[in-house]
């Protein structure tokens, strides 16, 4: 243990932390400006009248349009300050609060890469990433350091390793490896993509790319961690994420991964790039030496981020169907799922029954996201019960007819349609989830 602590405290060049800070801040600033410029704010946070909430943050408000733009503007400014390394600690906290609260406003906006942004920001926020290559150092030269303890780089590498390794684990299923789904569905609609269209339209493409994707995710951390093939491996990262970025609407994710994986390079890589000699490293890192308390927190962090993606193994049902344990698990692009939900509302007092479309409360994008996620269906069911109470039906029963297709299977009922969701405790929603249909996914052979 002491040997490990000793190695964790070994000083390494702080330059790669500083470079990651610069890249991270610039990318986040660009992402937020993009969100403001492309209509994301209006579509996702202005036009909806109902917002799905995380169970741990039901209080999160959604600001007025002007407030939202101010929120994004301030958050983008914080991200720019992070990149510049100016007033870093305040800026990164401001960015994290702004970015995280933006995600908390509506659960249907959850994306794995937004979660990764929060985690990387949290880690960078406690690291001395601003004490080199920053305006803070120019402002206060006494802040400058040349070295940081190795465990800081390790933690960032661990966080990125989680993404790849658990993404590989998520692909370890029959749909992905034996049926080439959902890639087959997605590639079939992209056969006219310039240059690579004929390749991805080939009948073998889904299976080849499914296996290639699995092998990439499963092994890339190994290659990136190994000095000799590292440069080639990073080029593979660049190629892989460029390809997925061109093929799928995954926003900033490819850029985040391509830039963040630079942390696997030798910590002095930025200096080499700038043709500056690596500094002589001190015997011990000047800041953040791994005390037992820091070691305990780091261990807890690692344990938590290993346990979270694995928790679905302790839960009943197939995670891709039930969604129990789906979030914060790096199950990236592993399922195609769409559904149609109708809420059947009954007023026991009058016997009157209603068929309520989610479109009454949701934007099409929200409805599409909700349709395959039991907890979101439950949230809307309870909202509908409240809405009916305001209309003079105080004790309605709300049942959901949710017909869902997973990876092209014939649509099946996701929830027991006899369960009154209005009376169901939120923690009990998984009890209403029906078993996953045992039909195979859409067959490649039938194309």
């Amino acid at each position: 243990m002491s040997a490990l602590l000793h190695r964790a405290g070994r000083p390494v060049d702080v330059a790669s932390l500083a470079a990651l800070r610069v890249l991270y801040g610039a990318l986040m600033c660009a992402a937020l400006v993009r969100a403001m410029a492309t209509g994301w704010v209006e579509q996702v946070l202005v036009e909806p009248t109902f917002f799905f909430k995380y169970a741990f943050a039901p209080w999160m408000p959604v600001w007025s349009p002007a407030g939202l733009y101010l929120h994004l503007g301030v958050t983008a400014a914080c991200a720019a300050l992070v990149a510049l390394g100016l007033f870093y600690r305040v800026a990164i906290v401001g960015f994290l609060v702004g970015f995280t609260s933006l995600q908390l406003m509506d659960l249907t906006n959850y994306l794995n890469h937004y979660y990764l942004v929060v985690l990387l920001g949290a880690l960078l926020g406690v690291m001395p990433a601003h004490r080199a290559f920053s305006l803070d150092v120019r402002r206060r030269p006494d802040l400058r350091i040349d070295a940081a303890p190795a465990y800081m780089v390790w933690l960032l590498r661990f966080q990125l390793a989680c993404v790849y390794v658990f993404a590989a684990l998520a692909k370890l299923n029959a749909d992905w490896l034996l049926h080439g789904q959902p890639l087959a569905i997605w590639l079939a609609s992209r056969g006219e993509t310039p240059l690579i269209g004929p390749l991805i339209a080939h009948p073998a493409a889904p299976m080849v790319m499914s296996w290639a994707g699995f092998l990439f995710d499963a092994t890339i951390v190994l290659w990136l961690s190994w000095r000799r093939p590292r440069a080639l491996a990073w080029l593979a990262v660049l190629g892989f994420h460029t390809a997925t970025g061109l093929l799928f609407d995954i926003g900033m994710f490819p850029l985040i991964m391509v830039t963040a994986t630079t942390i696997f390079f030798d910590p002095s890589w930025p200096r080499r790039l700038l043709r500056r000699p690596p500094p002589p490293l001190p015997d011990a890192a000047p800041v953040g030496r791994p005390t037992p308390a820091i070691a305990a927190v780091a261990t807890l962090w690692v344990a938590l981020h290993v346990a979270l993606p694995l928790r679905h193994y302790a839960l009943p049902g197939d995670v891709l169907w039930s969604e129990a344990g789906m979030r914060w698990s790096w199950k990236v692009l592993v399922r195609a799922k769409d559904g149609a939900v109708t809420f059947h509302v009954t007023d026991p007092a009058s016997g009157r029954r209603f068929a309520v479309s989610p479109g009454r409360y949701l934007q099409p994008r929200q409805e599409s996201e909700m349709a395959g996620q039991p907890d979101l269906i439950h949230q809307l069911a309870r909202h509908i019960a409240g809405d009916f109470a305001r209309r003079g039906y105080p004790d309605v029963e709300v049942r959901a007819e949710a017909r869902v297709s997973l990876n092209g299977r014939p649509a099946a009922l996701l929830l027991d349609p006899t369960v009154d969701l209005a009376a169901l405790d939120p923690d009990a929603i998984q009890r209403a989830v029906r078993p996953m249909p045992d039909t195979p996914p859409l067959s490649l052979g039938a194309r």
Partner: protein, 407 residues
């Protein structure tokens, strides 16, 4: 060990071009036993777009344009006869029904010039100009009658669409009563200007207003036809050439998605507005016995034919008709022939349910509420598939999801 291990990933990635490059058709070295070739002559998205653009969009626009011209002529004849009741009014009403039936078919054909500019590539908002339902305002029509605003040269610029389209024209042609649709506090009632109108004068004004509207509807119909016509704007050609130079669509997938968004009309409008509200399945209807007053086209009693035309248009887009491919062929191509069969059967069942009974929907709601609600069920069967396995298998995005990312 690690140092001696071959870089499997690099080998795997390096093998990709070999796998693809070494395969011509059926020569996949690793998968040829399990996977068939791409069938020669298989239906593509481009095929569907080319067919739907020419055989459905362009021809439907041309048909509406012709009926719009006939409507204008019939309404002018009614106006020339001094308005009021009579054979000219009957002829004008028949012409309205013919135009409306054609337009209800076009309601689902939102891609291109008919759609709103903010939602559809090449959208010119012609739909709302021609027909604005459910945004209607009969009281506004009555106010315009009293003030004779329809005679002003800037009338169309000064008015909202809810007093200008086929819906306003319906009110003028089919409502001949002496009263108006405005509450008592509105000026035409409070000041007595409506009551002061002579019934004959009122009839003449209705005919004059109708003539102004029919003229604009005919012009807009012609604009829509010309936009799709290969000899004119050739939007059909631009739809068919999606992804190529000269087309506003970046890819056939994007273009097909726009056509698909028109099908969503069946869910948001046909099912939720035209049926759920009047049949009392929606909380917007306060009465347990239904709200027939919320039916579409209430003055003409044209809600059943309108729904029928909507469903026929949906079926036409889905199947492509008898002489070309539609979405169903893409489903078959994707391996979901069972879904194509199910949806075709659902369309047929819904159409048969509407064709098999000529009872006006308001009467049906009053006499057989369960029967009326069953129509909702028929449309829901179609839209359930549309929103679940259909969008998934064809990898289409629902409307208004363009700015969001995935992962």
């Amino acid at each position: 060990m690690i140092h001696r291990a071959p870089p499997l990933l690099v080998l795997a990635l390096a093998a990709l071009p070999l796998v693809f490059g070494g395969c011509d058709g059926d020569e996949s070295p690793i998968l040829d036993a399990a996977l068939p070739d791409a069938a020669p002559g298989a239906v593509t998205r481009a095929d569907v777009l080319a067919h739907l653009g020419a055989a459905v969009f362009a021809s439907s626009a041309a048909e509406f344009a012709a009926r719009g011209v006939a409507l204008e002529a019939a309404v002018e004849a009614w106006d020339a006869a001094g308005g009021g009741e009579g054979a000219e009014l009957d002829a004008a009403r028949d012409a309205w029904r013919a135009a409306m039936e054609s337009w209800q078919f076009n309601e689902l054909l939102r891609a291109g010039p008919a759609g709103e500019a903010r939602s559809f590539v090449g959208g010119e908002g012609l739909r709302d100009r021609i027909y604005s339902w459910p945004t209607t305002r009969p009281c506004g029509v009555d106010q315009n009658l009293v003030a004779e605003r329809y005679a002003a040269s800037n009338f169309f610029d000064a008015q909202l669409v809810n007093v200008l389209g086929l819906d306003a024209l319906e009110y003028l042609l089919f409502y001949t009563g002496p009263d108006n649709d405005c509450p008592s506090q509105v000026e035409i009632n409070a000041a007595g200007t409506w009551a002061a109108l002579d019934p004959t004068e009122l009839g003449q004004r209705r005919a004059a207003y109708a003539t102004v509207l029919a003229g604009r509807i005919a012009r807009d119909g012609e604009a829509l036809r010309a936009a799709w016509d290969p000899e004119g704007g050739d939007f059909a050609g631009r739809l068919a050439g999606a992804g190529a130079d000269g087309s506003p669509y970046p890819s056939a997938r994007d273009a097909l998605e726009q056509v698909f968004h028109g099908l969503f009309y069946l869910d948001r409008v046909a099912k939720d507005l035209k049926l759920a509200v009047p049949t009392g399945l929606s909380p917007d209807c306060p009465s347990a016995s239904g709200c027939p007053g919320d039916l579409e086209a209430p003055y003409a009693g044209f809600s059943r034919p309108s729904l029928l035309a909507n469903l026929r248009a949906g079926r036409m887009l889905f199947t492509g008709g008898d002489d070309g491919p539609g979405f169903a062929d893409l489903l078959v191509e994707a391996g979901a022939a069972d879904l194509a069969d199910d949806m075709r059967a659902d369309f047929d069942a819904a159409i048969a349910a509407l064709e098999g009974d000529s009872t006006p929907l308001d009467r049906l709601i009053a006499d057989d509420l369960d029967g009326a609600q069953a129509l909702h069920g028929h449309v829901k069967a179609i839209t359930d598939d549309l929103k679940s396995r259909f969008v998934l298998v064809l990898d289409l995005d629902v409307p208004a999801s363009g700015a969001a990312d995935n992962d």
